[in-house]
Chain length 393, copies 2
């Protein structure tokens, strides 16, 4: 075989990909072992039937040809109205491009912000695809560690220290993997760094309907930020439509126009019948979003109950998203060693904090994505296991 | 607004985008004028109802979560078996990655072949997105003109003359815009250049079920080529599923593995229910493909009849795909001037050859994508118009 580009052969950046425990759990399942998976950021429900029925109606009505590359006017208008209503920032269809999912939006946003070799900043701990996405656009990823002591709220000074010559900063609130929602103070600090260093802020807000405590603030609302912020949104988490691959970028009109040119050459648009279904789903309003979010809200409350009255594990403030970040450093084990041992001893799979960088070492990410009773039982087992390990120290 | 990357602000490369006549026709239609559009490469039928019903069945059965990023095993296996059966080249699922459409496959294939600044070769006349796709991966596009006198069959020597230091060559047979099918001699010459210069050959074969004359040969079948060829395929043209955005790349296992890593960071897979529908459609076999191709075969025969017994227009051998390339140089007009005048005089819209580069200047691309009677009448009007112009010379 002739050699592939360095861009793709080096995409993963070498080293562990962080999926060791996950993959081992999947192999155990394939071997017939009953494993409780608390690993994946995906609902334990399917896309609601009325949404799928609307999709089918659109397809049978003939919406099966090429859809407009920027997205249908109907979906662009619906997303724009929703963003305007939620944030107060004037937003029209010309500020919106529909993408085949949030990951595609993350990639396109970085392609828009960075030329090859440009520095693209991101925060540790991070969602698994972030560094590879930056390498995928041939940018130079530079990581900024947040601190467990700050509950992983990034410090503006830490970002500013690496911002010289950078072109973009990627943030995610509500945050995967930490479950933290960035405070207004945090976001104002980030915005100031972006303005001072002329950075694009790429704001991954795909969990914006899953807030348990405090308030989701889109940084696009902050002074001088609408002109330099690209917001990534998606139907995946808010409407349990992960498999439909439907997301968007919201940003300044001129860069959206450029992004449409990029989309013509990278994706050529999103299926029209899926976009129609997305309009239908969004038109259901907050009631449906709350219904989709409710199981995670419930399980978070269960977790708080289970974790009360023990000292082996401390819970990073679980303010949003479908994850809990558990600090197990009292056990003396790394997150990876703990997760490996837990999988062996109790057939419970969680993600080690080390899967998401270095800042969440000694932590575990627990996805609240299984049915309540099983979730509570697994968490109780996990707590007892941590207590044994901490006691054995 | 802070400035976007040069990658996206310069994506179109400046100059006319070749869509002037098309856009003017669309504006006329919006103003209520009855325009006959022979511009777009899209069927005048919709996706067949049984395919859409299978899609709905899959969705309602719960295939609405994240699908595996490389594609479902079922679709990868189906595509692999189809490619193996049609070409004789051993092909397994590990040689196949499913993509959200052929354009996405073209982009990914070039990302796999080229690092930023690498030279990527392509042929003139070309499908509209080709140069922008190469710029989109930050490659340096280098164009090689084919010749009207050769019926646009590329000459190996012309390619070799620009191949030093290049990483890839993009070809398309059956060809859009010319309707030419590359001969075995042409493809063997191209293969030799690729082997001699260690090039990736990116072979866009999305029209491989639309062959009216001669034989479609996939260059992956030629000696030493399976290891350096990335074949781009799609459900769009063969199964009238343009709006479903479902395609694939077939290539060496190792680069497919790298491409899967890229897909994790660019698209995160293709909707599972769409992939299930694609399996259903492919399982219908050649009967369905022939049915989808039949209207173009019929209209090509109509065109040959209309064009017989006149001398103003000569038809580039219409061997495949849904287009006719008409040589109108006898009129003394450029393709653009002819198309503009035809639109004004008779409200018939065709694409000037100049929309696809410089090699097809003085030509018109006619899409055979309207109902037979209207198609024949429009072509008769076009011929009379050419005769008037040629006679007035």
């Amino acid at each position: 075989m002739t050699h592939p580009s360095k861009r793709i052969s080096g995409l993963l950046g070498g080293g562990s990909d962080g999926w060791g425990v996950f993959n081992r759990a999947r192999r155990m399942i394939a071997d017939g072992i009953d494993v409780t998976e608390l690993t994946i950021g995906e609902h334990d429900i399917r896309t609601a039937a009325p949404i799928l029925q609307d999709m089918h109606r659109a397809a049978m009505a003939g919406h099966t040809g090429y859809a407009a590359v920027p997205g249908t006017n109907a979906l662009r208008d619906t997303v724009a109205a929703r963003v305007a209503a939620r944030t107060g920032v004037p937003t029209t269809r010309d500020n919106v491009m529909i993408t085949p999912g949030g990951q595609s939006a993350l990639f396109a946003a970085h392609a828009a912000a960075c030329d090859p070799g440009d520095i693209a900043l991101y925060l540790d701990p991070y969602y698994a695809t972030y560094p590879g996405t930056l390498r995928g656009v041939s940018a130079e990823p530079v990581c900024i560690r947040t601190r467990a002591d700050d509950a992983f709220q990034p410090r503006a000074a830490d970002i500013a220290a690496k911002a010289n010559g950078a072109r973009s900063l990627l943030i995610n609130s509500p945050n995967n993997p930490t479950g933290v929602v960035y405070s207004r103070t945090t976001l104002e600090g980030i915005a100031a760094v972006c303005r001072d260093h002329d950075l694009w802020l790429i704001s991954d807000e795909v969990y914006d309907t899953q807030v348990w405590e405090g308030e989701h603030i889109s940084p696009r609302t902050l002074p001088g930020m609408a002109e330099r912020t690209l917001v990534v949104g998606s139907m995946s988490k808010s409407h349990a439509m992960t498999g439909s691959r439907c997301g968007w970028i919201v940003g300044p009109e001129a860069v959206i126009a450029d992004l449409i040119n990029l989309a013509t050459h990278t994706t050529y648009g999103v299926p029209g019948f899926i976009q129609d279904a997305a309009v239908f789903a969004l038109d259901q309003g907050e009631a449906l979003e709350d219904e989709i979010a409710a199981p995670f809200r419930r399980r978070r409350a269960l977790a708080q109950k289970v974790l009360a009255g023990q000292n082996a594990i401390s819970l990073v403030p679980a303010q949003g998203a479908m994850y809990l970040m558990l600090d197990v450093r009292s056990t003396g084990l790394s997150g990876e060693a703990f997760a490996d041992a837990l999988l062996d001893a109790h057939h419970i799979a969680v993600m080690p904090g080390e899967s998401f960088g270095t800042a969440a070492a000694g932590h575990l990410r627990v996805a609240m994505t299984i049915e309540d009773t099983a979730f509570e039982a697994a968490l109780q087992t996990l707590v007892r296991f941590a207590e044994e390990k901490a006691g054995a120290q």
